[in-house]
Symmetry: C2
Amino acid sequence: MATPLPRDPIADAQRNWEAHGWVEEAAPMAAITAIMRTQQILLARIETVLRPFGLTFARYELLALLSFARGGALPMNKASALLQVHPTSVTNAVDRLAAAGLVVRSPHPSDGRTTLVELTPEGRTLAKNATAALNSAVFVQSEFGDDDVTQLIRILGDFRRNAGDFEG
Amino acid sequence: MATPLPRDPIADAQRNWEAHGWVEEAAPMAAITAIMRTQQILLARIETVLRPFGLTFARYELLALLSFARGGALPMNKASALLQVHPTSVTNAVDRLAAAGLVVRSPHPSDGRTTLVELTPEGRTLAKNATAALNSAVFVQSEFGDDDVTQLIRILGDFRRNAGDFEG
DNA sequence: TATTGTTATACTCTATAACTATA
DNA sequence: TATAGTTATAGAGTATAACAATA
């Protein structure tokens, strides 16, 4: 990790925005920039934990999704929709995971167009171990207070619903 | 944008975590996953706005940083520190921006090791126009309530300070 | 015709290591 | 010795377009 900056660059940017007359936009800009930066910090932590497992975050997400699916299997397009990523990204991730013996492709029983991705026993074990590592190394010690976690879930949930992420 | 999901996949994941006995970890996991997803949505919006200007978010950030610097110039390593990115990423971004005529490299007056990046008049104009576009298309209509913006800035500021991002 | 998935291709950003030049 | 920056190289994710197979 780099040495800490003496000042918060996002707070500085917010002041710069206001000084340039973008008063209404300054605070949302700061909030959004803070989300971008926080994601960067969290992603770095997550990838550090996952690296010993030979997993990237994108591949872990697919593995974790399958581990909660009935039968440990999902159609490719279902995985694409739930993970909110492009179909080619799923193809890419499944290629790598299959090469590592963590998932297998199998034909859909009734729709010949559809390919199912299925967790292997090795994949299920790795998903479990990687999840345990993330829980203890990232999620438990997230440096968010309990009340802040509740607030984040509510605020970001509202945002995602308004953004058309889900309907519920 | 894809069609909305019928249910919130992050809320589902939180329930799955709890059902597997990871009670303490479930809420922080949901908050962190929500940050990752929100960043993805916001980045997509930002890049859509910046594309007509021939800018990516990383290059815009450098341009905006320079536009607020005294004289519109910064040493490469200063830009790297403030943007929290690897020096090679700055080299890469400056190469592209220089090829587009938006910045120029110049020698540091007193330290021969140091290279300054300086905004050209074209770069300053583009930064101004791109910022105006982001302000009106993303920041003003961010779908965050005023109180939520205040909360986000405080919560994420605390997190970034604890994570060693800055000292202030 | 519409949908599913793959392939080919390209373009991001990022990171490590090796190297040059300067302090 | 330490610092600043570049180069070469590699890997990641993402996206578009063209295509094959199936509904």
